[in-house]
């Protein structure tokens, strides 16, 4: 936390949102018979970035999640089982109660044949079949990251595999946690809230308000430079990056507060403009990510 924001309750309290919720769940599991939830983490057409990001979580961290909060049934990157044994495990809870977290978009072209996630009883299982089958039965579906939420990079032009966000093929509400990748706080906080109280309050795009209500621009430490019209002309300058094409003013999420990698830093804190990775339409609608030839007067 930097000095300027250290005393602001908006910052200090919001940094604890996820850990307060997770600790409450763990407490209830230990003392009040709250049952651990079954969690399936399905990776469709993506880059595994969200599960890697989750491993980086700190306060709450991934160890708390798998050891004290949930029965982590399936994730293709992390589990020990492989091949058919892994897929058997995936479908083993199909009749139980489970929460489904999904990263990656769904390729729909040619019945989803361009993404096979494994073999089941000798037949290939497409990502499309897996999400259809497991998605409809799950007690909650959480889209983790921008691809699952809205297609994201997987659906960027020209989108040869005809990828879509998972909501487009499911007939039930999908809670969306866009971000490339999703911050561990957003996922663990949302999961913990679901286990305690059910569906959290969502905005009109089904994003939890507790993390996605504020524009980055409205909580950006460089906002005073914006107001005074002091703009960076190249990367590396410490002022407002509006003229370079910063998407903070159209992107709603609390990453200036939660930050990344054990809360060390975030893009704007490292002098790179926000590229709107948590905004619907990313990446195509957020382009260009950087512009040098803009309204700025040429320096003499």
């Amino acid at each position: 936390m930097n000095k300027k924001t250290g005393n602001c309750p908006n910052f200090s309290m919001r940094q604890k949102t996820a850990s307060v919720l997770v600790n409450k769940v763990i407490d209830k599991i230990n003392k009040e018979n709250l049952k651990k939830s079954n969690l399936i983490w399905l990776e469709l057409t993506g880059c595994s970035g969200n599960i890697i990001s989750l491993l980086d979580g700190a306060d709450p961290n991934f160890k708390d999640l798998i050891s004290q909060m949930v029965n982590f049934i399936y994730n293709n990157s992390l589990m020990a089982a492989e091949g058919e044994a892994a897929i058997r495990r995936l479908f083993s809870v199909a009749d139980d109660d489970y929460i489904l977290a999904v990263e990656g978009a769904v390729t729909t072209k040619d019945n989803g044949i361009y993404n096979i996630i494994g073999n089941w009883r000798g037949k290939p299982v497409t990502a499309y079949e897996a999400i259809k089958q497991l998605g409809e039965k799950a007690s909650y579906v959480i889209a983790v990251g921008t691809c699952a939420s809205d297609g994201g990079i997987s659906a960027a032009k020209p989108n040869p595999a005809e990828c879509v966000g998972i909501q487009s093929i499911l007939n039930k509400k999908v809670i969306k946690l866009p971000g490339c990748p999703c911050n561990p706080d957003w996922f663990m906080g949302t999961l913990a809230y679901i286990m305690l109280c059910g569906e959290p309050e969502l905005d009109d795009k089904a994003r939890p308000l507790m993390f996605y209500s504020t524009l980055i621009h409205d909580i950006c430490p460089r906002r005073p430079y914006f107001e005074k019209g002091i703009f960076a002309s190249k990367l590396g300058e410490k002022t407002c990056m509006f003229k370079l094409g910063c998407r903070g003013p159209v992107t709603r999420v609390d990453c200036p507060i939660t930050k990344w990698n054990h809360r060390v830093n975030w893009p704007i804190g490292d002098d790179s403009p926000c590229i709107g990775c948590a905004q619907f339409g990313f990446p195509d609608k957020m382009k260009p990510f950087i512009s040098y030839n803009t309204t700025r007067e040429e320096s003499k």
Binding site: H217, F226, V250, D284
Partner: protein, 137 residues
């Protein structure tokens, strides 16, 4: 017709800022001769001075052709203008239009249809500065 009512309502609500009034009047004048509107308003407003300001300011908006508009694309130090329903707005310093781009759109163009596709019914244009009017070509 409805534009009259909107302007009158603005005055009645005492919320009217001169800029809003000019903007509103200006948009209306695409369909109605401004003089009629001012006459109509005159009955309602006691503040003659404001009326004079409106009368004096309205004709000063420059006209843009499509070709002229393209130079205001926010590049090379040029301001960023866009046209919606015949009115030209300045988005140079509008935060959501960083580097003169917004959700895949770029400045220097008539974006009437694009605007309607995402912002229909939202009162966000009145926060933008009006800088002119599109010429009928």
């Amino acid at each position: 017709m409805d534009e009259y009512k909107i302007v009158i309502k603005m005055f009645n609500n005492q919320k009217s800022k001169i800029n809003d009034t000019i903007a509103c009047l200006y948009i209306s004048s695409k369909y109605h001769p401004p003089k009629n509107l001012i006459k109509h308003l005159g009955k309602k407003i006691l503040n003659i001075k404001l009326l004079q300001i409106i009368q004096n300011t309205t004709p000063n908006f420059p006209m843009f052709t499509q070709a002229e508009l393209t130079t205001y694309n926010g590049k090379n130090g040029n301001p960023a203008y866009i046209a919606i329903n015949g009115v030209v707005y300045d988005v140079t310093n509008e935060a959501t239009w960083a580097a003169a781009t917004h959700f895949g759109l770029s400045a220097g163009k008539d974006l009437t249809n694009a605007f309607a596709s995402c912002h229909a019914g939202q009162p966000i244009l009145n926060k933008l500065k009006i800088v002119g009017k599109m010429a009928d070509e």
